[in-house]
Symmetry: C2
Subunit: 304 residues, 2 copies
Amino acid sequence: MKILVVGSVAYDAVETPAGKRESQLGGAATYFSVAASYFTEVGMIGVVGDDFDPADIAMLESHDIDISGLIKADGKTFRWTGEYMEDINTAVTLDTQLNVFGSFEPELSDAHANAPYLFLANIDPNLQLKVLDAMANRPKMVANDTMNLWIDIAKPALSELISKVDALLINEEEAKQLTGEDHLPDAASAITGMGPSSTVIKRGEYGATLFGENFSFAAPAYPLERVVDPTGAGDSFAGGFMGYLASVDKVDQESLRTAAIVGSTMASFAVEDFGLDRTKNLTHSDIAERFEAFVDLTRFNPLT
Amino acid sequence: MKILVVGSVAYDAVETPAGKRESQLGGAATYFSVAASYFTEVGMIGVVGDDFDPADIAMLESHDIDISGLIKADGKTFRWTGEYMEDINTAVTLDTQLNVFGSFEPELSDAHANAPYLFLANIDPNLQLKVLDAMANRPKMVANDTMNLWIDIAKPALSELISKVDALLINEEEAKQLTGEDHLPDAASAITGMGPSSTVIKRGEYGATLFGENFSFAAPAYPLERVVDPTGAGDSFAGGFMGYLASVDKVDQESLRTAAIVGSTMASFAVEDFGLDRTKNLTHSDIAERFEAFVDLTRFNPLT
């Protein structure tokens, strides 16, 4: 396995201006894995309840995702209820039921512990640290995501984790909250000071900005006619980003730039339909075509 | 003269987190003209009061700007007082004194009326229409800007104007207000339905998106370490955008793309210091260097 991801697997109840779904497969590890699966071999560490649908297992397996680390526990799968009604860019959480996720203790097999790429999706930074410590060798690249909750209640563990990763992928608002800086380049530079050589600031419909070692790179969002469900866009970005890097097995500047566009490509698919409905049914030519649309969206000629 | 611009010339009192200026040269036509002057010959139509500083006349003349249309009237120059304290992206207007601008009646000489490029900066759409009607020939390209005030109180005249221009340059919020569409591509498409073949949506620190005939182009904002004063960024963008188009004398897709980056380049200089302090002192190599920084900010390799 080239990439190991640890994070949530969930059933989400979601309402957007485009409609409502009572219970759709979601969770950061799920979105990440399916997006990354188009580029490389992915293994998931997570937990589901005894209500987990065999059809969802079959979907993950059909993407050659290694789910040997997806533990089935007694109880119900993690459930998130949210809506994007006032502002399509901002999720309002209506309810969170941790269920089996509340006592989640990641356990790694040898195959997991030897993965060269590691993505620590948004969970308690103490668990993220535990997974990083459990790796047999320091992976070639470790990236993580986080959220406002952990900045509020687990800042020391989060700061320790960030000091140990190569890349932090974080929302703009959370980057500002984490660093206390209002201005984006200042926030990115404060994060660099915490440890990571790359910081990806996710800006929703405004795209993402990558701050690397002595360069920055602006990836736009694709101006889609219709955004159906923004859930999972950030994790799909991460899946495309890490999936591409693992596939070329390089983390240099040039690869990071292309990876950010691959991430934006996968995020653009994620929001086109509810949950994983679009992302799970892609072909490689769909991906290549959308990547080319990003080329067209951003290309310009020299100044004459 | 290649470009004629009609719009405000002002003295602004501005406060930003970087400091405060009691009275600095501003106004849409001023920012536009100085930015465009690095690319082509510009003529301004506007009005100033008898308090207008001869040093400001000298500065405009030093940029070879034709100010034969800048009328001096009895009274004081238009004065805008604003601040950007809570949010550097949003100007809060504290006071507006129209002064001589209140009875402004644009008058065009033959040289003005034959300009092949026309920019109608943000003023009463009835005046914008009057200038367009006064042109001897239909210019090769006409673009305009507007603001929430005119959408509120002069929508019919504004809609008539928009039906006659080639390009509308407008802030994201105002594009949404104008069209009643919450989603950017929908707003752009509604504007296209009103007439213009190109719509440039200005998104402040998120850059600008150009919606043209069968293409869209995303121009990022430059991630500056320090934004000192956002006043005039949009008009400096317009000046770079139109100035470049007039200099190559083409308005095809390829030229529009490059022009949007030239616009972003000029906007990035505008915000680096108060008022015109940075923009008025540029060299052509400063501009070429910043343009190259945009190339570096956006370039990426094909998917392998």
